[in-house]
């Protein structure tokens, strides 16, 4: 069974540009989560999507946004990039909310570098 996949692996942008990161969940999983892992700061919750709807949002500015498609894949968009947005962006997936233990399984991440 394929795990969570993310693309691209690496992304280099300059300040002010926009970045788009993509995630495909494990087959059968309908919930997708985005986390930011900045150096020395651990993992910070960004967004949670379930059945195409945004269910919860972390303490991040509105220029961080995303969406979930009918096939449950997801996209994270970061507008007006700032230097401090440089981080590893991790996507996780789980079964639908309310179903079982909702264990979250992570992808390998997208390394975003803002110059």
């Amino acid at each position: 069974e394929a795990g969570v996949t993310q693309s691209p692996t690496h992304l280099i942008k300059t300040r002010g540009q926009q970045a788009t990161l993509r995630c495909s969940p494990i087959s059968g999983h309908t919930s997708v989560y985005w986390y930011q892992q900045a150096l020395g700061l651990g993992l910070q919750f960004l967004l949670w999507y379930d059945e195409g709807e945004e269910r919860n949002r972390g303490n991040f500015p509105p220029r961080f946004s995303g969406r979930q498609f009918p096939n449950y894949s997801s996209e994270l968009n970061v507008n007006a990039l700032e230097l401090e947005d440089s981080a590893l962006y991790l996507c996780a997936s789980s079964l639908a909310m309310g179903r079982g233990r909702n264990e979250q399984f992570f992808g390998p991440g997208t390394r975003l570098t803002v110059l």
Binding site: N56, L90, R101, E103
Partner: protein, 114 residues
């Protein structure tokens, strides 16, 4: 507000020894406590998880001990091996529908020396 505090930040253990990583949480509504293992360049991998209705859970060489009254939980790695060298994160969440986010500790970099 950091709701999950993890210690130590780094840990060096000799091969065959016991590695112990501790976490403390503040929110008594948390009822699911997973541990993740992360190797460089990889995403975190779920290692073991516990719910507060049990005080201990063991899977192979990995054991979670849970103390509900102290709001603390710890990961014990028995017979630590060089392949266990990685960063370990504890996490917590409330499992009621509508709030599925994981709150992570800051991580412990574990190094197992021969």
């Amino acid at each position: 507000q950091q709701q999950v505090k993890q210690s130590p930040q780094s840990l060096i253990v000799q091969k065959g020894g016991i590695s112990i990583i501790n976490c403390a949480y503040e929110n008594t509504a948390f009822d699911y406590f997973p541990w993740y293992q992360q190797f460089p360049g990889k995403g975190p991998a779920l290692l073991i998880a516990i719910r507060p209705d049990v005080s201990e859970k063991k899977e192979g060489r990995f054991t979670i001990s849970f103390n509900k009254s102290a709001k603390q939980f710890s990961l014990h790695i028995m017979d630590s091996q060089p392949g266990d060298s990685a960063t370990y994160f504890c996490a917590a969440k409330r499992s009621w529908a509508g709030n599925e986010k994981l709150t992570f500790g800051t991580g412990t970099r574990l190094t197992i020396i021969p």
